[in-house]
Amino acid sequence: MIFVTVGAQMHFDRLIRAVDEWAAARGRRDVFAQIGPADYTPKHVEHARFLEPPEFDRRYREATLIVAHAGTGSILQAMELATPILVMPRRAALRETRNDHQVATAERFGKLGVPVAWDETELASKLDRSDVLASERRIGPDASPELLDRIRSFLSRR
C-alpha cells in the first residue's frame, strides 16, 4: 500500500494530482491519499481530507511506501519505521506554503539519503522505480544523545 500525505494546513494539489495521474496510468489501486484542504479531488485513488493520529499512525505502519510533502513530521515518522519515503517540497512561489522551508528540509534530509522529487515529472519517474527507494537510514525514537543531554542539563538547574 502506498500512503500519500500532505499534512492538514494548506493544499498541495500538485502532489495529489501527480500521484492520482500516476496511479491511473499504471493501474495502481493500492494507493490511499490524505489530501488536506485540497481543491483537486483525486479521481483514481482512495482519499480522505484529514485523518486523526491513531488512524494516521496505523496507515503509516501498514504502508510499504510513503509519498509526502517535505514536512519534518512526515519524514521523521517514516525514518522511525524504516518505511521508504519519497518527498516533494512545497513551493512558496506556487502558494503551496508561506515560505520555502520545505525546500531546505528536503535538501537537508536528501543529504541523509531520503529520496526527493523536485517536481511532478521526477515524482512520477521515481514512483516507477519505487521498488528501489530503500530507506537506508532507520532512526530510533529519540533525538541525538547530545541534544537530550543538553536539555537534561538545562532542566537540572532550577
Binding site: G7, A8, Q9, E52, P53, P54, G71, T72, G73, S74, L76, Q77, M79, N99, D100, H101, Q102, A104, T105, R108, L112, I139, P141, D142, A143, S144, P145, E146, L147, L148, D149, R150, I151, R152, F154, L155, S156, R157, R158
Partner: protein
Amino acid sequence: MRGFRRRRPRVLAISSGGGHWIELMRIRRAFEDCEIVFATVSDAYRSHVPDARFHVVPDATRWDRVNLARCAARVAWILAKERPDFVVSTGALPGFFGVVLGKATGARTLWLDSIANVEELSMSGARVGRFADLWLTQWPELARPGGPEYAGAVL
C-alpha cells in the same frame, strides 16, 4: 520559591501539531526525571502520551487575530494552573506564547527551533529567542553568540 514545594521540576512541553509535535516527542526522553505536562492543539495526540497530564490549546497562525487571542488566553490559563518550573517548546505559535508568557511568570524557558527552519525564514525563532533562557538551533551553521546554540538535532 516554587522549587521548594516539589521534589521534581515540573515541565510544560508545548507545541502545535504535525512536525512540531513529532519533534517534541523525540526530545521527551530528556523529561524523564521531571513531572511532565503536555499541551498541544489536538486531543487526539493524547494517545502518544497516555501517562502524562495533557491540555488542548486552540491552534493559531500569525494572520488570525481571533485565534491568536484565544490561544494566548488558553496558554496563560494552563500556566496559571500548572505553575511549571520550565517551559519547553518546539514551536510554533502555541509554543511562542508558552515561552513568552512562561518567562513572564518566572519559569525558565527553552525554545528548540524546528529542523525545518532556515535562518532568514525562522520568524518565530527570531522573535521568541530573546524570551528563551536556552535557544537551540538544529543547524550548526546557524549557531552564533547572542543567538541560538547548536547541541545536536532531533535525528
